[in-house]
């Protein structure tokens, strides 16, 4: 293997400087994991190219030597999407961090994939424009990674996911060809490859340039915080807000654990004894927002909110969101490690699923903090554990698996925005049957016949599913419908 490493790096060094080709163990270790540090693998080589030309040459070398490539943006994936391969090249896009062009008239920006999500909105702010999808990791995650995962955010209930907010992609294929997908207008000719590439977890092509759509900054945004004594009440309030015809810009829920941790981080004055809090943001024209905010407040009170509070200014609004966005990492204030789930369910099943989760939590003797995009039904149960205690990670994974299967049972999905990566491969065998998985593999082969781009991620091999003997659940129909569950 070290021979492989040497021959490869020699070829890379022909066009890359020394510090852009890492081959020593000491340098490689910090690249062994992304935001899911429970999964680790030291790559063969790390390359840090700076131009598209570099990437094309790297791809050509890898194709000829049959070396797999794993792309890495900011390494914040929480599904192990950027986990390196032992015999593979880890291709970092961190140096592609320039905003190439901002076009205020057409309301778009052309950016390199390594640009941080938040940096786009900061750069376009002076034009009164912003990039809508705002994953909680937006301070750090790259737009390339967002496209690869089809990232969502707290505001995607109203403004959509990444796929709804990009106009064009340039990708380098495994053939070393530069393709432009989408159009400069609102669509491109032929199949909607832009949509197909979005969320493809780096398995179909390397994203090297992105044209994102920019939206006008709303004239007014206002957030209400509501505290509830019972999660169920909060869940009902969510359902009624949506049913009443209001689409909030964001509608988020945190349970007691998560609220406590977030409070310690930002000191936003979240109520500390509530079973759940809701954050509901409304934005738009002033007149509209003020009308809707009182409507929402009524609904919240009707569903027995014990406290409601409207952020008095922009500073407080930002603070309330900062706590929500930092909630994942902040939970380590409660336990040293967390394992984040990402299932999505029909909203009406919220209360049922949350109750089941808390039962599972007891069964597995692992605490769970819940932070989630309530408006979208996208749950993020954070399983709290201690990685230094033998067996705890394994137990968390098992519990996590159970939670995802629960999401499938009620007609949901195993991942709403974090992607499958390496972590949810087993649950993919439950969500999709053999024919569907084969179709995915066929799509993969249309782009990458030799499976060199991020192989082994996102779509499990049929072999793996067979070994697992997993039961495939369709449409919430259970494998054993006679067992009492509800």
């Amino acid at each position: 293997m070290s021979e492989n490493r040497n021959t490869l790096s020699k070829q890379f060094l022909q066009f890359l400087p020394d510090n852009a080709v890492l081959t020593h163990n000491e340098d490689l270790h910090p690249y062994e994991c992304d935001g899911l540090s429970a999964y680790r693998q030291v790559p063969l080589v790390v390359v840090i190219p700076e131009t598209i030309e570099h990437i094309v040459r790297i791809v050509n070398i890898c194709r000829k030597t049959n070396t797999p490539i794993v792309c890495r943006g900011a390494g914040t994936s929480v599904s192990g999407g950027a986990l390196p391969l032992e015999n593979g090249v880890l291709l970092s896009l961190a140096k592609f961090n320039r905003i190439l062009n901002i076009d205020p008239v057409n309301r778009l920006a052309c950016v390199q994939p390594g640009v941080r999500n938040l940096a786009i909105s900061q750069a376009t702010q002076s034009y009164g424009l912003y990039y809508a999808p705002d994953p909680s990791s937006q301070i750090a995650c790259s737009i390339g990674g967002n496209v690869a995962e089809n990232a969502g955010g707290v505001h995607c209930l109203k403004y959509g996911l990444t796929v709804h907010n990009i106009l064009q992609l340039k990708i380098v294929t495994i053939e070393g060809e530069l393709l432009t997908l989408g159009g400069s207008g609102l669509d491109g000719p032929g199949y909607d490859l832009l949509a197909l590439l979005t969320g493809s977890e780096g398995m179909l092509g390397i994203i090297v340039e992105i044209v994102v759509k920019l939206l006008p900054v709303p004239e007014c945004a206002s957030v209400v915080l509501a505290a509830f004594d019972e999660i169920e009440h909060a869940g009902n309030a969510v359902t009624e807000i949506i049913a009443s015809g209001i689409i909030p810009a964001g509608l988020e829920m945190m349970d007691r654990h998560a609220t406590r941790a977030a409070e310690e981080y930002v000191h936003a004055g979240y109520p500390d004894n509530a079973a759940a809090i809701l954050l509901c943001e409304l934005d738009g024209i002033k007149e509209e927002v003020s009308a809707q905010i009182s409507q929402v407040k009524d609904i919240l009170l009707k569903h027995r909110a014990v406290q409601t509070r409207i952020a008095k200014d922009e500073v407080e609004r930002q603070l309330l969101w900062a706590g929500r966005k930092g909630a994942f990492p902040a939970v380590v204030r409660l336990a040293p490690d967390y394992y984040c789930m990402d299932g999505t369910i029909p909203r009406r099943k919220l209360a049922f699923v949350l109750n089941r989760i808390s039962e599972l939590s007891e069964e597995y003797q692992l605490a769970i903090a819940n932070v989630f995009h309530a408006g979208d039904g996208n749950l993020h149960p954070l399983i709290l554990y201690d990685a230094n205690k033998p067996g705890e990670l394994h137990r968390s994974e098992e519990l996590g698996g159970k939670i995802l299967e629960l999401c499938l049972e009620v007609g949901g999905t195993i991942t709403g925005e974090h992607g499958v990566g390496v972590e949810k491969l087993n649950q993919m065998c439950v969500q999709f049957d053999t024919l569907e998985l084969s179709q995915f593999h066929a799509i993969k082969h249309a782009f990458d016949p030799d499976e060199l781009l991020n192989p082994g991620k996102a779509v499990p091999s049929l072999h793996r599913c067979a070994e697992l003997g997993a039961m495939h659940v369709h449409e919430g129909k259970l494998p054993f419908p006679d067992i009492e569950r509800f």
Partner: protein, 364 residues
């Protein structure tokens, strides 16, 4: 509540397809044939979806609707309407009998598209049959789902060439309290600037078009929002608000009553007017432009491509007869670059190895 007939025709459709696959018989998939004018003309054994009908799932509070492909679009819209909701993409029908499957396969979106998203943006999941006769389900019925490749959105606008759509789930949105249309006399250049300036500001815009020296702006939202915005922007109120947009969407506006070939140009919304002789109508705030012209395809396509866009020969009109005579065919869709065409071919093969599904309808 649900007067729509229910019939699941999956088994028959699947058998038919499997048989066609085994015997390599090309199929022509269709619903009510309201949009048969669109795309390259094809031959094939007819595979009709109109008996695969019904609403599979609709719970207004979830904002999700699932319906079978043969269901009439008007029935779906009426159902949504009764619950105070609607499809975000305002689909054109091009005929009373338009079906749900055909709507999705064509991927058309109406005037609301730039502000509320395209048809493909609303898609959450599909159940379909691929070219091998396998029944597959992609996406789902929840708002967010990134498990597996996004094969369901890929079906939007694929004209049935990748699969026979059985059921399609979409996200729906609440119907706005109020809509209002304002008209203003402008030159096309002024209109382009105007429409894009409005779109860049905090205005509840839901459509912007230009035709015959007039720019039309539609506002939608809560009563408060629309009224507040209407005061800020100039223009004469156009009543009833819906009539113009209905005509634009359905191509029943006088602009479209012609035998001249009709081109659909997809461009940057702020692109200046292209110097191609003909009659123009601008929709989508300038991002979708209709052009009636007899100019040759090459000239049009070169000009559009130079501006970064693409051109579709939407309705062939007289051109069809002309070509029939000349024995040559103007491709309907914008030619693809070589590597892109190769990806298309491989993808088609991945879903339909024997090329039995609407062969050649999109690209030949």
């Amino acid at each position: 509540m649900n007067p729509i007939i229910n019939n699941d025709d999956t088994v028959q459709l699947q058998e038919l397809t499997q048989n066609a696959y085994a015997k390599k018989i090309p199929l022509r998939i269709f619903g009510s044939d309201t949009k048969s004018f669109y795309g390259n003309k094809i031959q094939g054994h007819p595979l009709c979806l109109v008996n695969h009908v019904g609403i599979v799932d609709y719970e207004p509070a979830e904002l999700v609707l699932t319906a079978r492909a043969g269901t009439k679009l008007r029935e779906i819209e009426a159902l949504l309407h009764s619950a105070g909701q609607m499809l975000a993409f305002e689909p054109p029908y091009f005929g009373e009998e338009a079906t749900w499957g055909g709507t999705v396969a064509c991927g058309f979106s109406g005037p609301r598209r730039p502000y509320a998203g395209a048809l493909r943006d609303s898609i959450l999941g599909v159940r379909m049959i691929n070219g091998k006769g396998e029944q597959l389900r992609f996406g789902g019925k929840v708002i967010k789902n990134v498990a597996g490749y996004d094969a369901s959105r890929l079906m939007a606008g694929a004209l049935g060439t990748l699969g026979i759509l059985l059921d399609i789930s979409v996200k729906v949105i609440p119907r706005p309290q109020l809509e209002m249309t304002l008209v203003l006399e402008q030159t096309p250049e002024e209109a382009i600037t105007y429409m894009n300036t409005l779109a860049g500001g905090p205005v509840p815009l839901s459509a912007a078009a230009y035709v015959d020296g007039q720019v039309l702006i539609r506002l939608s939202g809560t009563q408060a929002a629309v009224q507040a915005a209407a005061v800020k922007i100039s223009g004469q109120e156009h009543e009833p608000s819906s009539s113009f947009w209905q005509q634009l969407k359905e191509h029943s506006h006088p602009f479209f009553s012609t035998e001249t070939p009709l081109w659909r140009l997809s461009l940057l919304p702020g692109s200046p007017m292209l110097k191609i002789p003909g009659d123009w109508m601008l929709d989508w705030g300038g991002a979708q432009r209709w052009l009636k012209t007899n100019e040759p395809a090459n000239l049009i396509r070169d000009a559009v491509q130079a501006a970064g866009g693409h051109a579709t020969l939407f309705r062939q009109g007289e051109l069809k007869d002309q070509q029939m005579k000349d024995g040559e065919n103007t491709p309907v869709f914008h030619p693809l670059s070589k590597p892109l065409a190769s990806v298309h071919e491989k993808l088609k093969t991945a879903f339909d190895p024997e090329y039995i599904l609407n062969r050649n309808q999109l690209y030949t």
